[in-house]
């Protein structure tokens, strides 16, 4: 019997192997080629870190990386604060309308291109000079929605009676928040912030439309896009590997934090 079940499952393992192969082989090839000394996409000529070295010497890429870091850090900070407060506001009040739900859900599902052109029209009609600050304004929109949803998930299982207990024992509202609510929420808040950071670092379309003219506010994805359009270079492979490593590390950490808070 067990034998038969095992045999029956074999096609399923095959499906999994094929799907994960499809998902990971392209990425694996890219990462492998970034360490290829000769830089040719097809001939392996030995392990080397020289393409990473040439990245470090490329001023355009460094300035784009710095821009991305600024945008991601600032937009994550604002979004984490606003998103957490929003989540607390919604969950403490318990009763809320469908319009509010739709408003918070919208930034997560609206196609990027639509939000991108909407913000471009909006900023140019108001004659706002576009640059890194407008990218930050735009990134906070979707980032705060994601932070809010992560924190809300945690609040759903939050036992509000400990807050009451704290105030019954004479703690002020601020003390209660600092000593009771925040420690419980913190892992979810950090998980949300890491998610927001990843999304912001990787976001291309909205940044592309709200960066304004000129090279000064080029972000890393914008830089990658223009490099890709000129063709394959070993530098892109190296850059892609670093960017992927950063996102994957941030996301894995975020997942872990989220799991430790899950009931």
């Amino acid at each position: 019997m067990a034998e038969r079940t095992h045999a029956g499952r074999r096609p399923l393992w095959l499906v999994l192997a094929l799907v994960y192969g499809f998902l990971y082989i392209p990425i694996a090839v890219l990462v492998a080629l970034s360490f290829n000394e000769g830089g040719l996409p097809t001939v392996w000529s030995g392990f080397s870190l020289k393409w990473y070295g040439s990245l470090a010497a490329n001023k355009e890429i460094l300035s784009a990386a710095l821009n991305t870091l600024i945008v991601a850090l600032v937009s994550t900070a604002i979004a984490t604060l606003l998103g957490t407060l929003l989540a607390l506001g919604i969950e403490m009040r318990r009763r809320h309308g469908r319009a509010l739900e739709a408003l918070i859900f919208a930034p997560m599902i609206i196609p990027d291109i639509v939000l991108a052109i909407a913000l471009l029209s909006f900023f140019s009609m108001l004659n706002v000079t576009m640059g890194l600050h407008t990218i930050v304004l735009a990134h906070v929109v979707f980032n705060l929605a994601f932070v809010c949803s992560v924190v809300r998930a945690r609040l759903k299982s939050f036992d509000w009676s400990i807050v009451e207990a704290s105030s019954d024992l004479g703690a002020s509202a601020i003390t209660t928040f600092r000593r009771v609510t925040l420690p419980v929420l913190l892992p979810a808040v950090i998980a949300g912030a890491l998610l927001a950071f990843t999304l912001s670092v990787d976001e291309f379309i909205i940044a592309y439309f709200t960066a304004g003219a000129g090279r000064a506010s080029t972000t890393l994805p914008m830089q990658i896009y223009s490099m890709i359009r000129f063709g394959i270079t070993p530098e892109i492979n190296a850059l892609a590997t670093i960017v992927m490593a950063v996102s994957i590390a941030a996301l894995t950490l975020s997942q872990r934090l989220n799991r430790t808070v899950a009931p």
């Binding site: 994960y20 392209p26 996409p41 939000l115 052109i117 359009r229 992927m244």
Partner: protein, 281 residues
């Protein structure tokens, strides 16, 4: 709460409202916008030139959706059938690529598909010596890129209902003499349809509104609605038409999501009846 809601209102609701309004204005003679009411931006969509692009992008997005749903459902089914403690791990690794940079994932396919790429090399190795086939800049490359990028989404959407599926339903069906195929077709598939539909809606909408994949893997030869929107805002300078196109995108999404919600409602009704029947039987 108020600052966040103010932020969303000022930087999402108002700009989107602006785009909606823009769609009803006329394009100025030298670009720019002329503030007279018109419906001709929506009429333009029926111009043979644009209608062709619409049909083309609907076909490409439709094909990508179909392939992604078939592969994604099979993967979700296999994950749901795996030992319980392995399931979160499988799921995590299925979704992980989704969170890495979209451009990089698309670029990975340029590396594989270009004339000197790995696939050509593989063909040579198998003894093919003619002119290298052009794999890049084809419709197939665009579809592959879309499937690759959105597959994790479908896996996630299909996994949820599959994991929640009551195994007793399948057993009941088999006990009553149905073959595995019939059980799948009459029990499993209808009950997990909402997940499939949710995944399909997002793949379709994101594909049809995409401009990056057609530009990079299609070499600009295959236009999607997303490319049209891009052109209207950044090169052709016809903002009202671009606005009308993006509102059309939103309308398609809302329509499909409504259909999906109706399917979900029907399926949950069906699940309750089925659970009741299984309990009785």
């Amino acid at each position: 709460m108020a600052p966040a809601l103010a932020w969303l209102t000022a930087l999402m609701v108002v700009p989107c409202g602006l785009v909606l309004a823009l769609a009803f204005f006329r394009r100025g003679i030298y670009g720019g916008i002329e503030y007279t009411f018109t419906l001709e931006n929506f009429g333009l969509a029926f111009d043979p030139l644009y209608a062709g692009i619409f049909l083309n992008s609907a076909r490409i997005a439709g094909t990508a959706t179909l392939i992604a749903v078939v592969i994604g459902y099979a993967a979700a089914y296999a994950i749901a059938a795996a030992p319980r403690r392995l399931q979160p791990v499988f799921l995590f690794f299925a979704v992980l690529p989704f969170w890495s940079n979209y451009l990089i994932r698309t670029y990975a396919w340029i590396v594989l598909l270009n004339r000197e790429g790995l696939l050509t090399q593989l063909l040579r190795w198998f003894g093919y010596h003619g002119e290298p086939p052009s794999l890049l800049y084809t419709e197939g490359a665009v579809i592959t890129g879309l499937v690759y990028n959105y597959l994790p989404f479908v896996i996630l959407a299909c996994y949820a209902p599959l994991a929640r599926l009551n195994p007793e339903l399948g057993e009941a069906s088999r006990d009553l003499g149905a073959s595995a195929m019939t059980t799948f077709r009459r029990v499993t598939l209808p009950l997990t349809l909402p997940g499939i539909a949710a995944g399909a809606v997002f793949v379709f909408v994101l594909s049809i509104g995409n401009f990056v994949t057609p530009a990079l893997l299609g070499g600009g030869r295959f236009q999607m609605i997303g490319n049209l929107v891009y052109d209207q805002f950044l090169t052709a300078n016809d903002w009202p038409f671009g606005a009308a196109l993006s509102m059309a995108l939103i309308a398609i999404m809302m329509l499909l999501l409504t259909v999906q919600a109706m399917a979900a409602e029907r399926a949950s009704g069906r699940a309750r009846t089925a659970e009741g029947d299984a309990a009785d039987g």
